[in-house]
Structures are given as structure tokens and as C-alpha cells.
């Protein structure tokens, strides 16, 4: 019996106007987007290797260790997944003057966007009259009068409708993938396919969740015209509003000092406060020393001081002690303030982390946010990858500077006269930064909660739809 209803649902949907329109829309948008993104990716890859070559040429003539840090940096290369997903790798780069402001005004359309925004809308378009429409047409009465149990009906509706929805999405995804694979320059690896498969699974959960939500809303209205209004209202809130509001709500509930404030504080601690502390400590130590070496009390010009040091070994001891004490005082001041600065920065980082976590939590009220995090983390374009990249960049950075110091030491040993820090050196044996994506296992583990959450939402909506339908007045 369920099979019959499911078949009828599927058939009814496939033959409907909205199915055709959905299919047409997705079959155009997804391949076009992937085509454009693929070209963009290939261009970026070409650009990256060009820059690489330029850097090598430059290093041969001008590479010197003092300023090499400005030239050699760990950079994240474009990855094949960028043909489908953009995530945080979009070129919003506020750290440079010559930044490109367009992505701020017009964020990019990628697969995550298409699925998250368009397909959720499509799901609601298919579901909003699942119950109320059949009631209005009178067919609901007929079905139930034929002895169909209500639980079976609602189960079949969700299954049938959901399955139908997946058809246009999967078809357009396949076409999109063909577009990508046709381009010879894109190198998909096994891990990438694995990640894509998982993202597709996530999409299935996402679509079913919204479809169940649509059926739930439909089962709470007696007129389809009211049902669609509520559906759109809910959709706007969940998909468009909650995610955008979440970081602001989080910043309201869990405020952090802005970066500028932190830097100002660091500056203050490192400059004025350090100067004050340095002078204070210096004064303390000098007082002690003056008590021990009265000669220090005298105000001598530097020349006189020098002469006195040459004549009088006791004076020399005094002055050397004084210099050492002053140095020690300033060193301590630097250390103390350095610690304070570290503490301030650490505290700020903690706060930012807390706020980010809170924002994530709040945003995950919206299934769109859950799906976005899931897809970007699986495709190494999200927050997890940012943290991962930071770590491996740090590792390379340390390795490089170890190499630099060792090399300088070697060169210094061979030729102590030259200022090796400011002389071009052959660095072709340096450790190079190689970016590999985090292992799939790690990414999957991190996104497990996301999958479970999507599944959870789906089950809750389905349960509520089930209950609502059981009580639905079919007259």
C-alpha cells in the first residue's frame, strides 16, 4: 500500500509543472556555476604557478634572509574542490591595500549556495500543499476513505516527495561534475570523491529535512494559500535571517575587544608602561648600586667616564655593574610587559574563540548554517581548514627559520666578515611549504555532529508532521 502511494507521489510530482521548472532551473544554474568556477580555478592555478616561477627568479638574485619573511610566505593554493565550493577561500582580503572589494558586495555562487538556498526553497515549493492541497482537492478524503492508515500516508508522502526532489538535484550535480571532469587541468583525488560523496549525503539529509518541514506546515493549515505564506516566512527566517544575525547576537552576548583595542593595549603595555616600568626598575637598581659604589653618583660626561674606567678598576667595575644593572632592568621590564602583552592577547583570543563558538551554535538553529559548515569543512574550505592551515603554516615557518639560522651560522663560520643577513644567499635548498589537505578521516570526524544534527532536524520535523497529520481534519 505504501508503495502505491509513494509511486503516486513520485508520478504526481514528476508530471507537475513545478518539477519541470525546477529541473530546468537547476540544470542551468549548477552547470553554469561549475563551468565558471572551474575556469576561475584553472586561472588561479595558472596564476599561482606563474607567481611561483617569479618568486624563484627573484630569489636567485635578491633573496636575503633579513627580509625574506616578506617574500616567502605559506600560501594556500587553489584546490580542486574550489570548482564546486568556495567557503572562506573567497578572495576577501582586508589585509592589503590593493584588495578586491567586489566579493564583499557580490559574494560568489557555489554549490553550497545553490543547495542551501535554492534547493531548500524548492523543497518547500513541493511540500507546501502536500496535505492542504489534497484536502482542497478532495483526494485526501478519498485516500483515507479507502482504508489507508494515516501513518502510512504521511510516511509515503515524505518518502515520495523527498525522492522526487533528489532527482533534479542529482541530475544537475552529475552534469556539473561532467563539466568539471571535462576540463583536463582539474585533478580530483580519491579523497575528494569521498568528500563529495559525503557532501551529497549531507544534501540528501538537508533536502529531506526541508521537505518534512514543508509537510509539517502543510499539515497545520487548511488552505494551501496560507500554508505557502507560513512556509515562506519560516524559510526566510531559517535560511536568510538567522545565519546572518547569529554573529551579531553572539557579539552582543559575548563581547570581545576589537583587534584594534587589543593592539592599542599591547602598544600601551609595550611602550609607555614598559618605559615607566623600565625607568622605575632602573632607578631601583641604581639606588642599590649607588649605595655600593658611590662613584656612580657623580655626573660624568661619557669621555670622563671612559677615562675614569681606564684608570680605576673599581670605577670600571662600578660602571660595568651599572650598565649591566640597567640592561637587566630593561630586560626585566621587557619580560614583564611581554608577559602582560601575551596574557592580553591570549585573553582576547579566548574571547574571540568563545564568541565564534557561540555564533556557530546560534547559527546552527538554521539548517543552512549546519549544512554550510558541513560542506565547507568536508571540502577543506571552511573554518576547520583555516585552523589546520594555520598550524601547518606555523610548522613550516619554524622549520624555515631553523634552516635560516643554521645556514647563516654555516656561512658566518666560513666568512665572518660579510653581513650574511643582508646579502643574497642561495636558498634553493630551503624547506618548501607544501599544502596538503587534512586527511579525510579528520574532516569526517569533525563533521559528524553536523550530519547528526541535520538528521535530527529531519526526524523532529517528520515526527511533528506525523503527529499533525494524525490530528488533521480532512472534512
Amino acid at each position: 500500500m505504501i508503495r502505491t502511494i509513494v509511486r503516486k507521489e513520485i508520478l504526481g510530482n514528476i508530471l507537475s509543472f513545478r518539477f519541470v521548472v525546477t529541473l530546468a532551473l537547476l540544470l542551468v544554474v549548477v552547470p553554469v556555476t561549475t563551468f565558471v568556477l572551474t575556469n576561475d580555478y584553472l586561472k588561479k592555478v595558472g596564476d599561482a604557478s606563474l607567481r611561483q616561477a617569479e618568486t624563484e627568479t627573484y630569489l636567485r638574485s635578491y633573496g636575503h634572509f633579513n627580509r625574506i619573511g616578506n617574500i616567502l610566505k605559506a600560501a594556500e593554493p587553489p584546490i580542486p574542490f574550489n570548482t564546486l565550493v568556495r567557503g572562506l577561500s573567497a578572495d576577501v582580503n582586508m589585509a592589503e591595500f590593493d584588495d578586491d572589494p567586489l566579493p564583499v558586495m557580490f559574494p560568489l555562487v557555489d554549490l553550497v549556495f545553490v543547495v542551501a538556498v535554492l534547493i531548500s526553497l524548492v523543497a518547500l515549493i513541493f511540500a507546501y500543499d502536500a496535505v492542504s492541497g489534497e484536502k482542497e482537492d478532495g483526494t485526501l478524503k478519498l485516500m483515507l476513505a479507502n482504508g489507508l492508515a494515516r501513518p502510512k500516508v504521511v510516511l509515503a508522502k515524505v518518502a515520495g516527495g523527498g525522492l522526487t526532489l533528489l532527482v533534479p538535484f542529482l541530475m544537475s550535480l552529475i552534469v556539473g561534475l561532467l563539466v568539471i571532469l571535462v576540463h583536463p587541468g582539474v585533478d580530483w583525488k580519491a579523497a575528494d570523491w569521498g568528500a563529495l560523496g559525503l557532501i551529497t549525503l549531507g544534501t540528501v539529509l538537508y533536502v529531506m529535512l526541508f521537505y518534512a518541514l514543508g509537510v509539517l506546515i502543510s499539515a497545520r493549515h487548511h488552505a494551501s494559500s496560507a500554508s505557502i505564506m507560513t512556509s515562506l516566512f519560516v524559510w526566510v527566517l531559517l535560511v536568510l535571517v538567522v545565519p546572518s544575525l547569529s554573529p551579531y547576537i553572539a557579539s552582543f552576548l559575548s563581547p570581545t575587544p576589537s583587534r584594534i583595542q587589543v593592539e592599542r593595549e599591547a602598544e600601551r603595555l609595550g611602550d609607555t608602561e614598559r618605559d615607566d616600568l623600565g625607568r622605575k626598575l632602573e632607578a631601583e637598581r641604581m639606588r642599590e648600586l649607588v649605595a655600593k659604589y658611590p662613584v656612580l653618583n657623580e655626573r660624568l660626561s661619557e669621555a670622563d667616564q671612559k677615562r675614569l674606567m681606564e684608570r680605576d678598576p673599581a670605577a670600571r667595575e662600578a660602571f660595568e655593574a651599572a650598565t649591566k644593572a640597567k640592561q637587566g632592568a630593561w630586560d626585566e621590564a621587557n619580560r614583564v610587559q611581554g608577559d602582560k602583552i601575551d596574557a592580553v592577547r591570549k585573553a582576547a583570543d579566548q574571547k574571540v574563540k568563545a564568541q565564534t563558538e557561540l555564533a556557530r551554535m546560534i547559527s546552527m538553529v538554521s539548517p543552512l548554517a549546519v549544512f554550510t559548515y558541513l560542506a565547507t569543512d568536508l571540502s577543506s574550505t571552511g573554518m576547520r581548514n583555516e585552523a589546520y592551515f594555520g598550524r601547518i603554516a606555523g610548522v613550516w615557518d619554524r622549520a624555515f627559520w631553523d634552516y635560516a639560522r643554521k645556514k647563516i651560522a654555516d656561512l658566518q663560520a666560513r666568512d665572518p666578515a660579510t653581513d650574511w643577513w643582508n646579502t643574497p644567499v642561495d636558498m634553493s635548498d630551503r624547506p618548501r611549504f607544501v599544502y596538503t589537505e587534512e586527511a579525510l578521516g579528520g574532516r569526517v570526524e569533525a563533521t559528524m555532529p553536523g550530519f547528526l544534527l541535520l538528521l535530527g532536524y529531519g526526524l523532529v520535523f517528520f515526527a511533528l508532521a506525523y503527529v499533525s497529520f494524525l490530528k488533521y481534519d480532512v472534512r
Partner: protein
């Protein structure tokens, strides 16, 4: 006759479930947006007071724009502080927050609410105007009277436009009034005028989507068909087209990437420093070389970037929504044009500083005038494209209305 129909539309809206859902949603969103964006603005203002340069500091910084509360646009980028010098221009204080969740989702400013939610609302008011009355049989009743089809359509349009515009303006005006009570937020007379213009632009935007909705309604016989087409068209116009257009433009115009540009600058600077250390040439000639090469890079980048912006604008304008974004951000002073003008001014400031240091290297720069930038005057903004965009939006609305008239005259009312 038109008046009778318009009045009936207004009354019908006031008595409908859909109207209250919409008003509630709009009011909540506008209020929340104003609250959030005002806080954001005040925080950035507080940051600005921290980074204001003292006399003699070679720093160019522009205060945040209060109109960014309504259209944030590129204001955060424009409020960065730039340290200028012989080596070029570096960003001293950039992004406000380390909370990456901000980067994932669009800013919920007034512009966003209007662009995304109000367009949907206007479509929802228009999409069943014809098909519903046909399905309900009332269209026949109306047309059995001496009311021409044009009158009916116009009456419907007017009635629904008023039903949309009046509550929306009221809610927005209330929000702005509350905002005005906040002493930290100060609008100049020019800014108030710009805000008024943005509101007018919003009304044109609503009118466009209402016309589109009515067109879709006149093209379909059943309400359910109207709905599906409408939602897809909305999704395409608001989300897909404006963003895809930029991407397409990038395929056609080669702009050096940000990273490539900064790498080149670093290379120039490092190379010159090295040469200086080696003793080749004097400091002034190095500075001149660096400056010249930087300027060349900058000029090249600017030319290509302007071409990209122009091309993407033209492609994006296929969707009048893009026109709305362009016009609103330019009028607010947070758009691409304004950002470009600011950058040009910063470069000029830098060059002036370099010339000064080269000319009198010992004089120091403590009396070098502070950086000052004022938004391009409104007439230049309008002439520079904002008026065109607004007109395009209006023309599209009129076009769609004319089309719906054309279609409705042939509509089968039986």
C-alpha cells in the same frame, strides 16, 4: 473606477492573513537590523577614535559612515587605517573581528532586508492578483461592469503598492526616528537627503517587484503555477544573477590577484633595500624607484580593475536587483565607486608625502596636513551611474507593468 478597485485591494489586504505575516516579518527585521547595525557602527566609531592619527603620523584613515547602518557596502574596508610611506601603503588596522562566522553569511543591513525580503513580499502581493480572482470567479464579475482591463490592472497595482509602501515606510520611519534619538549617531543634512533618496529607491524597487508579480499572475491561469514561477524568478534575480555576473566578468577581464600584487610590491621593496645596502645609489633614488614602480603597478591594477567593475556592472544589470545594490550603495557612500575614489585619494596623499620627504628630507613630517576625505558630492554620484541604475529599475518596473497590461488584455477570464 480605478479608485474603487484600489480601495478594495487595500481593504482586502488589511483583512488578510498574509498581510499581517508580512508586516510582522518586515517590522521585526527592520527593527533588528537597525539595532544590530547601529551597534556595529558605534563599535567601529569607537575603534576609529583609537586609530586617529596624531599630527605627524603618516596615516590615512576615514571615519565610518553613519549611512553604513543602512547600506554597509564596503564601509568596513573604507574605514581601515593605511600607513603611507616610501615603501607604499600598508594596512595598519583592518578587520574588526576575528569571528569568522561573520564571513560566512551576508550582513543583515537595511539594504539586505529590502533586497531580499521586501522583494519577496512585493512578489507575494502581486503574484495571485489575476490568477486568484480568475479561480474565484470574481474577475468575471468585475469585468461584467464598465471597467476596462487597464483600469482593473492599474487599480490592483495602485492598491497593492499602497498596501506595501505605507506600512513599510511607517516601520522604517519609526526605526529611523528611534535611531535619531541615539546621540552617538549623527547624520549631516547631506546624509539625511541621501537617506531619503535611498528610501525613494526602495519604493521603486518594491514597485518593480510588484509589477513583476502581477505580470507572472497574468501569464498563468492557476495560482499554484504563478507561485512556482515567481519563487524561481525571485531566486534567480536576487541571488543568482547579480553574483554570477561578477564571476563571468572575471573570466573576461584579467585582473592581477591581490596576492600577486602584494608579492610584487614586496619584491620591489626588498630588492631596493638590498641594493641600497650594497651601496648602489642613494636613498632618495631608491625611494623614487620604489615609488615609481609601485605607482605603475597600482595604475595598471586600477585600469584593469575599473574595466572589471564596468563589465561586471553591465552584466549584473540584467537583474535590476544589481542596479538597486549599485545605486543604494553609491548614494550611501559605501559603494565601489566611492571606495575607488577613497583609494585614489590615499595614493595621492602618499605621493604628496613622498614628494615632501624627498624635497626636504630633514624637515620631518610633523606639520604635514592630516588626511582628509569627503564623500563625492551627491550630484557626481548620481551622474556617475546611480541615476542610471535608479532609472533602469524604474523602467523595468514600467516595462513589466506594460507587459502585464498587454497580457491581461488577452487573458481568458472564463
Amino acid at each position: 473606477m480605478t479608485g474603487t478597485i484600489a480601495r478594495k485591494e487595500i481593504l482586502a489586504n488589511l483583512l488578510s492573513y498574509k498581510f499581517y505575516v508580512v508586516i510582522l516579518l518586515a517590522a521585526f527585521l527592520v527593527a533588528t537590523s537597525f539595532f544590530i547595525m547601529t551597534r556595529d557602527y558605534k563599535e567601529r566609531l569607537a575603534d576609529y577614535s583609537l586609530i586617529r592619527p596624531k599630527p605627524g603620523e603618516p596615516i590615512a584613515v576615514n571615519p565610518p559612515n553613519p549611512l553604513s547602518i543602512f547600506a554597509k557596502g564596503l564601509d568596513e574596508a573604507m574605514a581601515r587605517s593605511f600607513e603611507v610611506g616610501p615603501t607604499g601603503i600598508t594596512v595598519r588596522a583592518g578587520q574588526k573581528s576575528g569571528n569568522t562566522v561573520f564571513a560566512f553569511f551576508p550582513t543583515p543591513d537595511f539594504l539586505y532586508i529590502v533586497r531580499v525580503v521586501l522583494s519577496l513580499v512585493a512578489l507575494l502581493f502581486g503574484f495571485d492578483q489575476v490568477s486568484r480572482e480568475k479561480e474565484g470567479g470574481t474577475l468575471r464579475l468585475i469585468l461584467a461592469n464598465p471597467a476596462s482591463r487597464g483600469t482593473v490592472l492599474l487599480g490592483k497595482w495602485l492598491g497593492n503598492f499602497v498596501s506595501l509602501a505605507v506600512p513599510f515606510l511607517l516601520v522604517t520611519a519609526l526605526g529611523i526616528a528611534v535611531l535619531g534619538l541615539d546621540p552617538a549617531v549623527r547624520f549631516s543634512a547631506d546624509q539625511v537627503l541621501r537617506l531619503a533618496l535611498i528610501l525613494v529607491l526602495t519604493l521603486i524597487y518594491i514597485a518593480f517587484f510588484l509589477s513583476l508579480g502581477i505580470l507572472v499572475s497574468a501569464l498563468t491561469r492557476r495560482v499554484s503555477s504563478s507561485l512556482v514561477i515567481l519563487l524561481f524568478v525571485w531566486a534567480l534575480l536576487v541571488f543568482v544573477l547579480p553574483n554570477l555576473g561578477t564571476l563571468v566578468a572575471r573570466q573576461m577581464v584579467d585582473v592581477p590577484s591581490v596576492r600577486a600584487l602584494s608579492e610584487k610590491r614586496q619584491q620591489v621593496w626588498t630588492r631596493e633595500v638590498l641594493l641600497r645596502i650594497r651601496g648602489v645609489g642613494d636613498w632618495a633614488s631608491h625611494v623614487k624607484t620604489i615609488s615609481a614602480e609601485n605607482d605603475a603597478l597600482e595604475a595598471d591594477y586600477r585600469v584593469k580593475f575599473d574595466r572589471l567593475v564596468a563589465l561586471s556592472k553591465n552584466i549584473n544589470r540584467v537583474s535590476p536587483v544589481a542596479s538597486f545594490i549599485y545605486a543604494a550603495t553609491e548614494i550611501a557612500g559605501t559603494g565601489i565607486g566611492e571606495e575607488g575614489a577613497l583609494k585614489k585619494e590615499v595614493v595621492r596623499y602618499k605621493n604628496g608625502l613622498i614628494d615632501r620627504t624627498l624635497a626636504s628630507p630633514d624637515a620631518g613630517i610633523s606639520d604635514y596636513p592630516a588626511f582628509r576625505y569627503s564623500c563625492r558630492p551627491l550630484d557626481r554620484v548620481l551622474a556617475g551611474g546611480a541615476l542610471f541604475d535608479a532609472a533602469w529599475l524604474a523602467v523595468c518596473g514600467i516595462l513589466f507593468f506594460a507587459l502585464s497590461y498587454f497580457v491581461f488584455v488577452r487573458y481568458d477570464v472564463r
